[in-house]
């Protein structure tokens, strides 16, 4: 099928007008319809994350109950009692309000950590890919060491040095993500650098910097976007874990991880106190994972073309 297709096009080059005209009219059509089909994971993931963002935003101005209101008389109420949609915790605080405010924390930490780590990591990756052999070997080893450093230990050490808090959590996640982001971008960047269009760009005098920014970065962009989504998911998990361990922002700030750790002791009396924050974490993590897959499917031109061929 492929061979036939190309020989038809080849005869079109003979430059007799009708054939090229036909090519001209049929060519761009799949191109136009491309935008309308969004893969299901992308839609689901976007919906999950959009609702998490919306909840976080709303929590800035409104929560069903006061966030700091402690009411020991009304503690451990089951869901749907006294207007508490998801019940109350050990100190009588409204779980719905706590989860809403916790979303804010998760998204801020996840977004900041992922953003910083991706920018720094990708820059390191691009520099590594563009370096000569010796420099590249050295940086690659350093990156390998960075990947091997246990993130949890870094976080606990940081917490003792800087004290617990949001900045500590972000710093700990960034430190463990940067080598990862760098390592993920080196290979693909080198693949792009080996392409003929990069050689052509050097042959017409483009600088290494220009080639990295205008040819390499856009062509590994979809891959980086996918990595960023997965990192965001991991960062949300890491934030929950670190807050659970007490490295995160101390009370009265809200966090899903601390909600879980605080509910540990009463989990057998009120299992919903563990289930709801757990579900919230799962939803956001799943949302970013799906988003990552969806972005990958949407942006990868090769996969897109294969899909187009499969439909024909």
């Amino acid at each position: 099928m492929n061979r036939q297709g190309s020989s038809v096009q080849a005869s079109g080059i003979h430059a007799d007008a009708p054939k090229t005209a036909i090519e001209g009219t049929t060519g761009p059509q799949p191109h136009r319809s491309r935008g309308r089909r969004f893969p299901a994971p992308l839609v689901t993931g976007t919906a999950l994350i959009a609702s998490a963002c919306l909840v976080a935003l709303i929590s800035l101005w409104w929560t069903p109950f006061d966030l700091t209101g402690v009411d020991t008389a009304g503690s451990l109420l089951p869901p749907l009692s006294d207007g508490h949609l998801l019940g109350t915790d050990r100190l009588g605080r409204d779980v719905t309000s706590q989860i809403m405010a916790g979303a804010r924390n998760s998204l801020i930490v996840g977004g900041a950590a992922t953003g910083i780590a991706i920018v720094v990591g990708v820059v390191v990756g691009l520099i590594t890919a563009a370096s000569g052999r010796v420099a590249r070997e050295v940086i690659t080893r350093v990156i390998d060491i960075g990947v091997a450093i246990p993130a949890l230990l870094v976080a606990l050490v940081l917490a003792t040095v800087l004290g617990p808090g949001r900045a500590t959590v972000i710093a700990a996640i960034v430190i463990s993500f940067v080598p990862w982001a760098a390592r993920v971008s080196v290979g693909p960047a080198r693949q792009i650098l080996a392409r003929e269009y990069v050689e052509a760009a050097f042959a017409y005098g483009r600088s290494r910097w220009y080639v990295m920014m205008r040819h390499v970065l856009p062509n590994i962009g979809s891959l980086i976007a996918v990595q960023a989504a997965i990192m965001f998911a991991t960062a949300v998990l890491a934030e929950a874990a670190l807050s659970f361990l007490g490295v995160g922002e101390p009370p009265p700030a809200q966090s899903w991880g601390r909600l879980l750790s605080e509910s540990q002791s009463v989990a057998h009396q009120a299992p919903t106190l563990v289930i709801f924050p757990g579900l919230a974490i799962t939803a956001v993590v799943l949302g970013f994972m799906l988003l990552g897959n969806g972005v990958h499917a949407l942006l990868d031109p090769h996969q897109r073309r294969r899909e187009m061929e499969a439909r024909e």
């Binding site: 190309s6 080059i13 191109h31 003929e196 269009y197 050689e199 017409y204 005098g205």
Partner: protein, 261 residues
């Protein structure tokens, strides 16, 4: 008479890592004791894969460094050109590649890709009329400019690649196996196009190929390469009629066997 390009005692070696990228490992070196390419000539470089022909033209157009010896363009070392006057050297030495679909950034429209060399070298955006002119030289129409590489055929892409290389009005065009990735029916068209353009623009054309018969048909001079060295050079007629090296005889014999079938 001095040649446009003169090579003397040139050496280059691929490190282990580059060899493992392209040629299956092992260190490998190129040695060219002497080679002269005259202004306005057509030179065919033939040899099997791994013979160093692609590496040689990449050194001559400044993409790979000269490790030892000398390679001059218009009487000045290429390394010196690249240090001072790099842009003028790039303008005069352009390249067309083997694989047309890899020759274009998949995220750029053909229009942007074609405009790139003039933007890079002359620091200005070419006008629509200029671009249309370059395309018509290679027998294409302006409507392809809005398309992306994957929407064009190999033959069309190779024509655009030629148009892009010639947009700078180079004095030398290097063509690295320009037709080996194309359908047989398109190969002759692209080769004819190259020869026509060469004549109209007064180009020096250096064509690399593994097919000695095709190159002999088109080029005045032949350079036969094997294992990183030059086996034989000379006027095409002489080389084809009275090959001095046994390897050249083998190449000719092999090509004839294929064409008889």
């Amino acid at each position: 008479m001095r040649g446009l390009i003169e090579v003397e005692g040139l050496e280059f070696s691929h490190g282990r890592e580059r060899g493992s990228d392209a040629r299956g490992g092992g260190s490998w070196s190129l040695r060219v004791p002497e080679l002269t390419i005259e202004d306005g000539s057509t030179v065919g470089i033939v040899g099997e894969s791994g013979s160093g022909k692609s590496t040689l033209i990449r050194i001559l157009c400044g993409l790979l460094p000269v490790a030892a010896g000398s390679a001059t363009f218009r009487g000045k070392e290429i390394a010196d050109w690249l240090r001072i006057g790099g842009r003028e050297f790039r303008r005069q030495n352009q390249l067309v590649f083997q694989n047309p679909s890899g020759s274009f950034d998949p995220r750029m429209t053909m229009g942007r890709s074609v405009a790139e060399p003039v933007k890079a070298i002359e620091r200005r955006a070419p006008t629509g009329a200029e671009i249309a002119g370059w395309l018509s030289e290679v027998g294409l129409r302006g409507e392809i400019l809005r398309r992306y590489p994957h929407e064009l055929s190999g033959g069309q892409l190779q024509r655009v690649a030629i148009a892009r290389a010639l947009s700078l009005r180079p004095s030398v065009l290097y063509a690295d196996e320009p037709t080996s990735a194309l359908d047989v029916s398109v190969q002759a068209q692209v080769l004819n196009l190259l020869m026509d353009l060469r004549e109209n623009l007064g180009l020096t054309l250096v064509m690399v190929s593994h097919d000695i018969v095709v190159v002999a048909e088109l080029c005045e001079y032949l350079v036969v390469m094997k294992d990183g060295g030059i086996v034989e050079t000379g006027r095409t007629d002489d080389v084809m009629r009275r090959p001095r090296a046994s390897y050249t005889e083998e190449l000719i014999a092999a090509a004839e066997r294929v064409s008889l079938r």
